[in-house]
């Protein structure tokens, strides 16, 4: 286990280094002058000079990359002042430190992800299991067709409809907003309720389909038939034998989903104007705020890689046949 984690962590670091190098060189090397790009329309020579100085753009590009990467580990000194250890530089747009902004935005994204995942995992797996249990019956048909239609409901389509209906017309719920969980748990819950539900519509539909087909596949397996032949009840076989096997593909997908959601649910956050990593990324891209985009990109990539490792480690717990090596 430890050896597995060590090896995978090394691999993860290599992948993150490559992603950072790729992103860095495209961002800072390809456009003729990143300062001009970041400066926008009303740009003065002074502003360009300042950006040049702050970024160290007079140095060769590999040196710049080295400065950037070593800055993450050791921190570095900018014209604005020293930038402590995980240093991703300063925003072009407003001069804030990139790392602090990311940490500031992250609780919103965590809340959105965890709440949304709780909804789609329970509802999706639940309906999927019921559909598999009642395979071919009316319940199965209703759930299957509903999940087919719901899985094509884009967030930018249903989000405004839900808002218009529940918030502006019926006035049941307030405008979605993010309140710190520690400040007021009730307000935190009510403020994120709509985003959670809307975010999880497509996921729920997909998890229903996935859980159903995975379960049906498992029920046709031989160990399940053996268990039935031994005289075990259908319920026992269903929940203790087939269920466990059907989890493997679901855990894989769930890990990937969670990893990418932690990097920011852009469309949901944008639709409900929630101040998470997704809106930060979109805003930074619009402002061509390169250090910020770079920071969010690496942060998101780190989560994807991290969850890949977690998923692989989880296999060992679900399926005793899998050995980590």
């Amino acid at each position: 286990m430890l050896r597995f984690l060590f090896r995978r962590s090394l691999g993860a670091i290599v992948i993150l280094l490559l992603i950072s190098a790729f992103t860095f060189f495209l961002f800072f090397a390809a456009p003729k002058d990143p300062a001009l790009l970041s400066c926008g329309k009303n740009c003065t020579p002074d502003a360009i000079a300042l950006i040049h100085k702050n970024l160290g753009l007079d140095k060769p590009i590999p040196v710049q990359y080295w400065d950037f990467m070593s800055g993450i580990v050791t921190g570095r000194d900018f014209a604005q002042g020293p930038c402590p250890a995980p240093c991703f530089g300063y925003s072009f747009a407003n001069g804030d430190p990139v790392w602090d902004t990311i940490i500031d935005r992250f609780p919103t994204t965590i809340s959105l992800t965890i709440g949304g995942a709780a909804v789609f995992l329970t509802v999706g797996l639940g309906t999927g299991m019921i559909a598999a249990w009642k395979q071919g019956k009316l319940v199965d048909k209703v759930f299957s067709s509903a999940s087919l239609v719901l899985s094509s409901m884009q967030i930018y389509f249903i989000g405004p409809i839900v808002l218009a209906l529940l918030v502006y017309n019926l006035e049941i719920l307030g405008q979605p907003k993010y309140v710190n969980f520690t400040d007021n748990p009730a307000a935190w819950f009510m403020g994120l309720l709509i985003p959670w539900c809307v975010l999880s519509v497509i996921f729920t539909a997909q998890y229903t389909r996935m859980a159903r087909s995975s379960m049906i596949e498992q029920l046709a397996e031989e160990h399940v038939r053996t268990a039935r032949a031994k005289g075990m009840t259908r319920g026992t076989v269903f929940f203790r034998y087939a269920w466990r096997g059907s989890l493997i593909p679901i855990v894989t997908i769930f890990g990937i989903d969670l990893g990418s959601l932690f990097g920011g649910a852009m469309i949901t956050e944008q639709t409900f104007a929630l101040p998470g990593l997704g809106t930060l990324a979109v805003k930074s891209v619009r402002d061509t705020d390169l250090p910020m985009v770079m920071g969010v990109m690496l942060f998101a990539a780190a989560f994807i890689v991290l969850f890949n490792i977690i998923v692989d480690a989880c296999y060992a717990f679900i399926d005793p046949r899998v050995r980590l090596s």
Binding site: K41, S152, M153, Y156, I202, R286, T288
Partner: protein, 355 residues
């Protein structure tokens, strides 16, 4: 797929056809294949190719045929947009609400339901006063053209790299495998959002406006870059197992060149996964492009685009929600039809697999 789960869109869709393909070599001469009376002519068995059998099975699948027609309808709308425009007598750019007083009051359609009338079939766009029907028709055209281009590019790349990795193995396989691993770790929606402007900046100075064709090219490039890996990985696996089979060995012994073996022996055997995966890929790209335009980094005004209509609708929906429904429902119908079509294609290739 530009839902929030786009990072694994490709990952998830590899599973159905992996099981589907393992059976292509015995193309279902099952009960529905040759048992029909019309297959016999004067007591003689008529041979049928796997393709013909598949086609016959597909045509019997009513849901599949209907969804195929729906999908074709959308492509026809996209293709014939200029014809529709000239028949309908309007274009997607003219601001009718501004030209004709009385159509808009305070920026919103005067008539109920978004100003739907016999003249404006789908109503008038709030504020700008453009015709919604034309916006949608041309929007579908823009999005579908782009999605088809990305799909073709991704499929071709996947075939070349996947087959090369599987057939040649060794160092080539290792190298391609690592590239795929790396690209799979990219946060792909973030990558799309971040790189469309950056790649744009390579071609156009920041103060100039970007022409639409260049924007489309950049979208295609960026999405193709992260679009091909899952199919390539799938094809590599297929080819890896096919290459050990006797008929490949026979071809090798008879002196066929690698190029010929790949072209004549391997490719025909992987047509099925390619076709099935393509039907999953294309709707994903459609929602991805729409998502990018929704976030304001895909197509921008005044180019009519499906996803850009959602971005506009986000400004209008509090006062006039009708505008949102046309692109929204059209997209739901399109995606549902495409998914059903994909399932039917898979079933037609592999009738033994239960849904």
């Amino acid at each position: 797929m530009f839902q929030e789960n786009s990072a694994r869109g490709h990952f998830a869709m590899t599973s159905p056809s992996q099981t589907a393909v393992s059976k292509t070599d015995t193309p279902g001469l099952g009960p529905d294949g040759l048992s029909k009376g019309k297959d016999r002519k004067g007591g003689e068995l008529v041979g049928r190719s796997p393709g013909q059998l598949m086609w016959a099975r597909f045509r019997r699948d009513r849901v599949g045929v209907i969804s195929a027609y729906v999908v074709l309808f959308f492509f026809a709308v996209g293709l014939l947009a200029p014809v529709i425009s000239s028949l309908y007598g309007k274009d997607p750019y003219t601001r009718y609400g501004m030209l004709t007083p009385g159509l808009l009051t305070n920026g919103y359609p005067t008539q109920p339901n978004g100003g739907i009338s016999s003249e404006f079939w789908f109503g008038i766009e709030p504020t700008l006063g453009r015709d919604v029907f034309m916006q949608l028709v041309y929007g579908i055209r823009t999005t579908l053209y782009t999605a088809v281009a990305i799909t073709i590019a991704s499929v071709l790349t996947a075939i070349v790299l996947g087959v090369a990795a599987g057939y040649f193995g060794g160092r080539i396989d290792y190298f391609i495998g690592r590239v795929i691993d790396l690209l799979m770790a990219f946060p792909n929606q973030l990558f799309f959002v971040a790189f469309v402007p950056v790649v744009g900046a390579v071609f156009v100075a920041p103060e100039d406006a970007m022409p639409t064709w260049l924007r489309a090219t950049i979208l295609i490039l960026v999405m193709w870059f992260l679009g091909w890996m899952s199919l390539a990985r799938l094809l590599r696996g297929q080819v890896l197992s096919l290459r050990e089979r006797e008929f490949i060995e026979a071809a090798k012994v008879s002196g066929a060149s690698p190029a010929r073996i790949i072209r004549r022996e391997l490719l025909p055997n992987v047509v099925t996964p390619i076709l099935v995966q393509t039907t999953y890929m294309l709707p994903n790209f459609v929602t991805s492009i729409a998502g990018l335009s929704f976030l304001g980094v895909g197509f921008v005004e005044p180019t009519p685009d499906w996803g850009r209509m959602f971005a506009n609708a986000a400004d209008y929906y509090r006062n006039d929600i009708t505008y949102l429904f046309f692109p929204g429902l059209a997209m739901v119908i399109f995606i549902v039809a495409f998914n059903l079509l994909g399932d039917s294609v898979r079933d037609a290739f592999d009738p033994k697999r239960a849904r």
